[in-house]
Amino acid sequence: MTAPGPGPAPDRHFRPLDADGVREVVAWAAAEGQPLEVIGTGSKRALGRPVQAAHVLDLSAISGVEAYEPAELVITAKAATPLAEVEALLAGADQEFAFEPMDYGPLLGLEPGRGTLGGMLATNLSGPKRLKHGAARDHVLGIHAVSGRGEIFKSGGTVVKNVTGYDLSRGLAGSWGTLAVTTSLSLKVLPAPQTEASVLIEGLEDDEAADALCRAMGTSAEASSAAHLPQGIGSRLAVDGLSLDRPATLIRLEGFAPSVDYRFEALAHLMKPLGPVTRLEAEPSRALWRAVRDVRPFCSDAAPVWRVSVAPASGSDFVATLRENCEADAFYDWSGGLVWLSMPDGDAHAAEVRFAVSQVGGGHATLVRADAATRANLAVFEPQGAALAALGHRLKAQFDPVGILNPGRMLAGA
């Protein structure tokens, strides 16, 4: 990199080494009105709307674990610390992020394991265990960040119970780097379950499965994940030694061995009248849920993919409504509340998807895979009502008054 001269700034790639360096870059960009695309490793660049910015603020040097004490159940690390590195560290102490952050890499045609902690918070990642444990936003305890004003601020702390001031740490979750650049995060960690097993029921139609999953979630079995893979989906999971040729309804149980055994029996008993029940032991169960987490059934082609969040009991109604108007491959996570859609004819069918969401009592749909032109021309995120959208704009204007942080990422022109 060279020192910039006078005149219009050419495209630059800033790679600061610490939070103060980030502050300096953002302060310059704010003063000059120069938009920045904020990236960690760039693993999620193909998600969301394409950013309209000439310069890149590359955080990849802001990396490393700052503090980890297993007994305190908290880890603090710099924003671009690779998630895979942190997960390996936690696993060494038999701990984990209970929200099971998914890896978008395979779905976006990238190699797995490239994401960072900062990207995880910015996109509020979670996985199948979100059903029981929440998402990244439920586990963030504190942050240090640089707002679009070029000012370093902190929020929260390193303890679980904290109501001191507004919850800006959680407020940055899912903000796609449009409010502030996080430079360091503290996250709650939990003991990794000693073991797991899954209940597999075969042969259910979507609506029967929705009913079965909601019933299972309404018991004291404390299932941590609940999914349904319709005919033709399970066979695309690519999990070694597991062939799911028929519709597969799955409920995951984690914990201490005697507890998992007991809860498995209770659920198997409840589910037996619906169809054949088998037990997936820890190894295949883990592999299966990892494949569900990373949307493996839709990773082998490039068709548009939607991520749809609706009330769990409405998932199958949503898909049925959608299919009245267009073709779609679908499978269900979160007890039916998370629907992954792949659109086989190559068109995103945004109007049909949004219409179907509105018909089942609301929720939201995000176009997570499509070519850049489609993502630039469509509302990638669920459009909001006027008052809520205006509130969002005011929040953005407070944190990033010049509009330099990831412009266009969430909304066109903002």
């Binding site: 990199m1 360096g21 979100r130 000012e151 904290n162």
Partner: protein
């Protein structure tokens, strides 16, 4: 009230009181507007009773439309509004303002929808925390966050304070159990966030609203997650000769991968006060007492109780008892749950503090608290949510003795500074309110606080909702909005940092 400064009253608003009352009566008819001093008396304080203030007028709307019109009227006329739920705030969050409308939400008292398939309850904000559980317990469900005031506190107030409880390590705080909200901005605009689905879309306004202490918007509807009750719950009561060994026991339990439903610690003064009051059979020779509760299927609970007992023995516990019946478990908890009134029996008054600390800092904090106790000449008893590090020191004083309230407040401030010093925070679950407002600078610098205020400015730029709470100083949003940057200063990439 010792030296607490509230925003200066607006003389113009005070002089227009009669006109304001009649305008509000036009929006909320009948008994929904209270302006008689004798009737307003019930609203002059919340559970932080050291602070009292008569409001300008009390309004109890019954519909969202009324809330919207009241707020719009106040917005148009520059009148402050203090929202109030059940009035159980321990930090003065609902303390009225002389020139402010006190907006009570307690007529919003209906559960609107119980949806077992989606494990969700839609309720109005004035329903009590326990009221939600009561509405679903016949089907085996409950609402997990359980602040100790749960019989009285409202779910709307729980949103405002992000309430916790003794089970929050395992089951989370309010913010982890809320799925959706309907809220009304000071402009009267009605906005819905989330719903029965997980992951609200767009910016996480639910996160910003939860714990915002009534400064951002008025909540008119809440959707919460309900859970099926665990099959069984049992507790073990363990005594230790030192708080260090109790602390090590807590760390080892967590290190063994066990997340108890509840894990509470009491120090010697708290043990004695509680035992004298409820006779729970607490060991009076112990310096520290742990109550560890496990819940889940019986097979799991039995297994884990064995592990916990073994860990306690390894750490040299002086006594250990496991509950063998539901009645015995309730007795174990009775002492802990009565700790505040128990301390109330041995002292005319007490201040309840609410810092959170890293668990490992507990022995240091307890020992330095004894030094502070000597310095301020006041006794202190401690109850501690050991699972999540939330510490409740109870400072004993006598308000009738000259200077003791001031000394107690100074002692409390010292304790909170100590909590921040060891890496903790000012408040774990009671909120900042007016009580800890002036201590915010111990934890946050001006820029940190300015960024919090910017959220306020996005929601309520005229600062009419609950001003004087949370922030030590009020800055006008326009002042806060100025950018202080060195025009054109370039971040040179050739300096070593880059």
């Amino acid at each position: 009230m010792s030296g607490l400064k509230m925003p200066e009253a607006n003389r113009d608003v005070l002089s227009r009181r009669a006109e304001i009352v009649s305008a509000l009566r036009a929006i909320v008819p009948g008994e929904g507007v209270i302006d008689a001093r004798t009737e307003m008396r019930a609203y002059e304080t919340d559970a932080l009773t050291a602070y009292r203030q008569m409001p300008l007028v009390v309004v109890l709307p019954e519909t969202v439309e009324q809330v919207s019109r009241v707020l719009r009227y106040c917005f148009d006329n520059g009148i402050k509004v203090v929202p109030r739920g059940a009035g159980t705030s321990l930090s003065g969050g609902a303390l009225p303002l002389e020139d402010g409308v006190l907006l009570s939400m307690m007529k919003f008292n209906r559960v609107l929808d119980i949806d077992y398939s989606n494990r969700a309850v839609v309720t109005q904000p004035g329903v009590t925390n326990l009221g939600i559980t009561r509405a679903v317990e016949h089907e085996g469900f409950y609402y997990a966050p359980d602040p100790s005031s749960q019989i009285a506190c409202s779910i709307g107030g729980n949103i405002a304070e992000n309430s916790g409880g003794v089970h929050s390590l395992k089951y989370g705080l309010t913010t982890n159990n809320v799925l959706g909200l309907e809220m009304v901005l000071i402009t009267g605009e009605v906005i819905r966030l989330g719903g029965k689905h997980l992951d609200a879309e767009g910016y996480d306004m639910l996160a910003l609203m939860t714990g915002s202490e009534g400064l951002l918007a008025v909540v008119t509807e809440v959707t919460v997650r309900i859970l099926q009750k665990p099959e069984t719950a049992r507790a073990v009561l363990v005594g230790f000769a030192t708080s260090e060994s109790a602390g090590r026991c807590v760390a080892e339990i967590i290190g063994a991968g066990i997340i108890p439903a509840g894990m509470e610690m009491m120090d010697r003064p708290a043990i004695h006060a509680a035992e004298d009051f409820v006779h729970a059979g607490y060991p009076l020779d112990a310096e520290a007492l742990l109550i560890v509760e496990l819940d889940g299927p019986e097979a799991e609970v039995d297994h884990l109780l064995g592990e916990v007992a073994a860990i306690a023995r390894r750490n040299g516990c002086t006594s250990s008892r496991t509950s063998t019946s539901e009645a015995e478990r309730a007795t174990f908890w009775a002492g802990r749950k009565a700790a505040f009134p128990a301390v109330g029996r041995i002292s005319p008054d007490y201040l309840c503090m609410d810092g959170t600390i890293p668990r490992k800092a507990l022995p240091e904090v307890l020992s330095r608290m004894q030094d502070l106790s000597k310095k301020h000449g006041l006794r202190v008893a401690n109850v501690f949510h050991a699972g999540d590090g939330n510490l409740h020191p109870l400072i004993l004083y006598d308000a009738n003795k000259l200077g003791e309230l001031d000394a107690a407040e100074a002692f409390g401030a010292d304790i909170l500074r100590l909590c921040v010093h060891v890496g903790g925070v000012l408040t774990g679950e009671h909120g900042v309110g007016v009580e800890k407002r002036d201590l915010m600078g111990e934890m946050f610098n001006e820029i940190d606080l300015a960024h919090q205020m910017r959220v306020k400015c996005a929601f309520d730029d005229r600062q009419l909702l609950n001003p004087g709470k949370v922030f030590p100083e009020l800055h006008r949003c326009a002042e806060l909005g100025r950018m202080h940057v060195h025009a054109g200063a370039l971040p040179f990439p050739d300096i070593p940092r880059f």
